[in-house]
């Protein structure tokens, strides 16, 4: 007996500790359909898929509530291997291919066809000889079925175009016998337009052969173009599940982003309105930061404004501050208060009055084994030579009294929760670590502050405090602030303007009061027109 759905995930809920990441989510997929799973970062897409594949991260954190039915039967999927046994396969976002192996070897990885020999009869199955000929034939078939007729199955994967690798990855999944459901995790993210089209063609072919597909993507046009039905998640909750033909791209964008929520902080009025003098002019900026590439970004940031940079993860928004601060290799023209800024030189960027609160708190942001006060004054000491006494400039010593005084003031001002200013930074909670980072940036007396993902991984109360701190700095000291964040709501609540970055480029600069649809379309790389998107 076959049920209407190949996969039903009923009322799935999942908490990580106190933090609910999925609440009562239901996903139904019919055999042979392409089902889009849509949502922003953090909407719960990957957690839902982790539940489906029985990933260790789910089980080690207390499992989940709800029920998973495969082909109408309630099942317990304990591991990715068990998922495969049930006929559920995954096309990974990052390639699971071995560069030194040929295409054939990759497609047949750990599913090699072997023939027994005398040795293997004695010492076991592991010593059976590989049957390259049979493996090659299977690989050829799989490659043909994904439309890669021109690709030699004996070519090594190393040096192959990303697009081809993606298709090999798919061919491998198809080659697995008994596959009934395939999950594509943002497969088009690394493809060129023509390749993406080809991929969608292949997906349709696969679906026609009766295999259901879950298509995780943030490109709305592809959802419309390729899928039969769509499920939209937001903040771990099911927003809507409907037939693709009953909806359109604008509605999808709106559903994905949602209505503008309550402002998180109160914005005091500016004493003087913003002028058109630019604090920073960025022209043709390229940044070579793996996974967060920036390609040809030009933005002008007005003096005294809070400028937001948003977009989905991995699209390049984090690369912008990192590139300008000289942490990653960058090219382009950046002017700070009219003066050209030397790129690829972190020291000079700091000297010029730029400061940055890094998104990587534990990596480059903080010296975890050092005290809070040392962390706060570290840059000022190293770069500006402040907080030093002794015989300058060679035999210098830390000026302990000054440092402590300053640290105490900062701890008070930013409300850093700690036992004393000599507590190690590594023992603080995430939110308080973030405040130490901000304190350090402020100690540089910056004229221009980059804040990258300031609220990542900290609780809601701390979030509010961080945002309020930024607003206070801006309003009281007139500091220009650029905030990079994946959370649109935060950007909307404090920014004057928000640039949305997709695939390394600025798609659009929007007002915080723009509609959810505009933001949603921009995030999937479509620039909205004045009257709404032109579909």
């Amino acid at each position: 007996m076959s049920s209407e759905y190949i996969l039903e995930m009923r009322n799935i809920s999942k908490q990580y500790g106190e933090n609910a990441v999925l609440t009562d989510v239901t996903l139904n997929v019919r055999p042979g359909e392409i089902h889009a799973l849509l949502g922003e970062n953090g909407a719960g897409k990957s957690t839902l898929m982790n539940v489906l594949f029985g990933m260790p991260v789910i089980h080690s954190t207390g499992g989940f509530q709800g029920e998973v039915l495969v082909d109408g039967e309630s099942t317990h999927i304990a591991s990715p291997h068990a998922a495969l046994d049930k006929g559920i396969g995954m096309v990974h976002q990052e390639f699971m291919l071995l560069d030194g192996f040929t295409i054939t070897e990759n497609i047949k990885l750990n599913r090699e066809i072997t023939t027994p020999s005398i040795v293997s009869r004695v010492f076991g199955k592991n010593l059976e000889t590989l049957d390259m000929k049979a493996m090659r034939k299977d690989a050829r078939k799989a490659l043909d079925s994904v439309g890669m007729q021109g690709l030699d199955e004996f070519m090594p994967v190393a040096g192959m175009a990303v697009g081809h690798k993606q298709f090999i990855e798919i061919a491998r999944e198809i080659d697995k016998t008994g596959i009934r459901l395939l999950v594509f995790d943002e497969p088009t993210a690394v493809l060129t337009e023509s390749e993406a089209e080809q991929l969608i063609g292949v997906m349709k072919n696969i679906a026609q052969s009766g295999i259901a597909i879950i298509f995780i993507t943030h490109r709305l046009d592809e959802v419309i173009q390729a899928t039969d039905s769509v499920t939209i998640l937001r903040d771990g909750k099911l927003v809507e599940s409907k037939q693709t033909k009953d909806t359109n791209i604008i509605e999808l964008a709106e559903l994905m982003i949602g209505k503008k929520g309550e402002a998180m902080v109160d914005l005091p009025e500016r004493t003087s309105p913003l002028t058109d003098t630019f604090a920073m002019s960025i022209k043709d900026l390229h940044v070579d930061m793996a996974g967060e590439e920036v390609q040809d970004v030009s933005i002008d940031i007005r003096k005294g404004e809070i400028f937001g940079i948003g977009g989905l993860a991995g699209q390049g928004k984090i690369g912008i501050p990192n590139g300008i601060m000289g942490l990653y290799e960058a090219t382009g023209d950046v002017k700070l208060f009219g003066e050209p800024l030397e790129l690829n030189n972190a020291g000079s960027a700091l000297k010029k009055g730029l400061a940055m609160v890094s998104e990587d708190r534990r990596g480059v942001g903080l010296l975890l084994d050092q005290s809070i006060e040392d962390n706060i004054v570290f840059n000022a000491m190293q770069v500006n030579g402040e907080y030093l006494t002794g015989l300058k400039p060679i035999f210098t010593q830390k000026n302990g009294r000054e440092i402590r005084k300053h640290a105490k003031r900062m701890i008070e001002e930013l409300d850093i929760r700690c036992t004393s200013s000599v507590q190690h930074a590594g023992t603080l909670s995430g939110g308080n670590q973030q405040k130490v980072c901000i304190a350090r940036a402020l100690t540089m007396n910056p004229k221009f502050l980059f804040v990258s993902e300031p609220t990542r991984g900290i609780d809601i109360g701390a979030k509010k405090l961080v945002l309020e701190t930024l607003v206070k700095l801006n309003r009281q000291q007139g500091m220009t602030v650029v905030m990079v964040s994946s959370e649109l709501l935060e950007l909307q609540s404090i920014c004057d303007r928000i640039a949305i970055v997709s695939e390394g480029k600025v798609v659009d600069i929007l007002s915080p009061h723009a509609s959810g649809a505009d933001f949603g379309l921009a995030m999937s790389g479509i620039k909205p027109t004045k009257e709404g998107a032109d579909v």
Partner: protein, 423 residues
């Protein structure tokens, strides 16, 4: 379409090997060795050392770098040998019993080494190196205190006279174990060549009959062999090889290991070695048990190294109880790198070539130094300096090339490039 020969990339890829060839030629010209004398010495050294170098290949393929812990395999062999001497088993039987005894001991040691190396992924080389030093201490405790003291030894000359512990040097001659393997069957060089050529032709013929080789390739193989056998008839050439006798059994054992190294890579297990070696994450995602595969690789390597050490010792004729194993890992590692292997890729050919070049330099460098500087010690210094230097160079080159390779691994950029190419 074949790629045209690129001289520059050939030179950079084989820089170490080429440097060694040049060094060997230079030292040879000052060494005063005659060619025939040199060839005789080299045959000796190759049959003595090649096996242990070949034992390094599997861990390299499995992504664990050079297994310096083969030292521990050598210790296992020496423990086995000690007991064979205690039991007074003579000649070939003694050698075989030692080999058999080495198997469980080295397997156990290899298991422990593998377990430890699995805890320190990415640091295997330094790990195995230090582990070798550590094991030397345990070995000394075992040989100075446990054997001959807690466990008494009865055979003559095993224990230090008037003291406890195993003697510094164990002589294999009284038990007829010197050349136990080498002397089973020895042939003069030209006869050995005929045997090998005959086997090669037979192998080609079988492959042809199984339709795995076309007729042209068969003819080519036969003609090559005949030409080589004819070349040896030229009096000058014959002169070079006149005094050389080849230990056929030892050579066959080495050839067998080469065949084994190739054959294992064509099995499921070999495919797992290669997969794990290239990328543990991907292999794991495909369901391969990464830790187990690495464990097996190290066990293989340790056991093979033990047997290699036995071959070495029977050729030397005596066992330096406390020193024979010490430099094994270092010299074998340097040799395989000289042959053009890297810490991520190695073949039989590279191991054999490296062994040849490395030991050639060992021979000619002190002789050349003696002739030029009047002091063979300079040549000694030189070869020690060279063996460490080679390893350092190989590590730097690996770090450098993987750094260069890592650069263009940039998905979006490549996709962008592709897009512009398409338009």
């Amino acid at each position: 379409m074949r790629k045209s020969f690129d001289l520059k990339s050939f030179l950079t890829k084989n820089a170490v090997t080429i440097m060694f060839v040049l060094l060997c030629i230079l030292c040879y010209s000052f060494s005063g060795y005659t060619l025939s004398g040199l060839i005789g010495q080299m045959v000796d050294r190759l049959t003595r050392n090649a096996f242990i170098v070949l034992a390094l290949i599997i861990p390299i393929v499995a992504g664990m770098g050079i297994n310096f812990a083969i030292t521990i395999g050598a210790m296992a062999a020496q423990i086995a040998l000690l007991w064979v001497m205690e039991w007074q088993i003579p000649g070939v039987q003694g050698f075989l019993v030692a080999a058999l005894l080495t198997l469980p001991i080295a397997t156990f040691f290899g298991y422990l080494v593998g377990k430890l190396l699995n805890q320190m992924k990415g640091q295997e080389m330094i790990g195995s190196l230090i582990l070798g030093y550590f094991a030397t201490g345990v070995y000394q405790l075992l040989f100075l205190f446990v054997f001959g003291n807690l466990i008494p030894m009865t055979a003559p000359n095993l224990v230090i006279k008037g003291s406890t512990g195993i003697a510094n040097t164990l002589d294999l001659k009284p038990l007829n174990m010197m050349y136990a393997l080498d002397d089973i069957w020895k042939l003069s060089f030209d006869r050995a060549l005929y045997v090998v050529a005959g086997l090669f032709i037979a192998y080609a013929l079988i492959r042809y009959l199984l339709k795995k080789l076309d007729f042209k390739a068969l003819i080519r193989a036969v003609v090559t062999m005949v030409v080589i056998c004819a070349a040896i008839q030229i009096p000058v050439v014959k002169g070079w090889f006149a005094t050389i006798r080849i230990p056929m059994v030892t050579m066959f054992v080495i050839m067998l290991l080469c065949v084994f190294n190739v054959a294992i890579m064509r099995t499921k297990l070999g495919q797992n070695f290669r997969a794990v070696g290239q990328n543990g994450v991907v292999a794991n995602a495909a369901g391969i048990n990464v830790n187990r595969t690495r464990l097996i690789a190290i066990i293989f390597s340790t056991v093979l190294a033990g047997w290699g050490q036995l071959i070495f010792v029977q050729n030397m004729g005596s066992l330096q109880t406390y020193g024979a194993h010490e430099q094994v890992g270092l010299y074998a590692g340097a040799a395989i790198l000289v042959g053009g292997a890297s810490i991520v890729k190695a073949t039989n050919g590279q191991a054999l070539l490296g062994c040849l070049l490395f030991h050639l330099l060992f021979l000619v460098a002190p002789a050349a130094a003696k002739n030029v500087f009047g002091d063979p010690a300079i040549g000694e210094y030189f070869r020690v300096f060279v063996s460490y230097g080679v390893i350092a160079v190989a590590l730097v080159m690996h770090a450098w090339s993987s750094h260069v390779k890592a650069k263009p691994e940039n998905a979006i950029k490549e996709a962008g490039k592709l897009a512009t190419d398409n338009t």
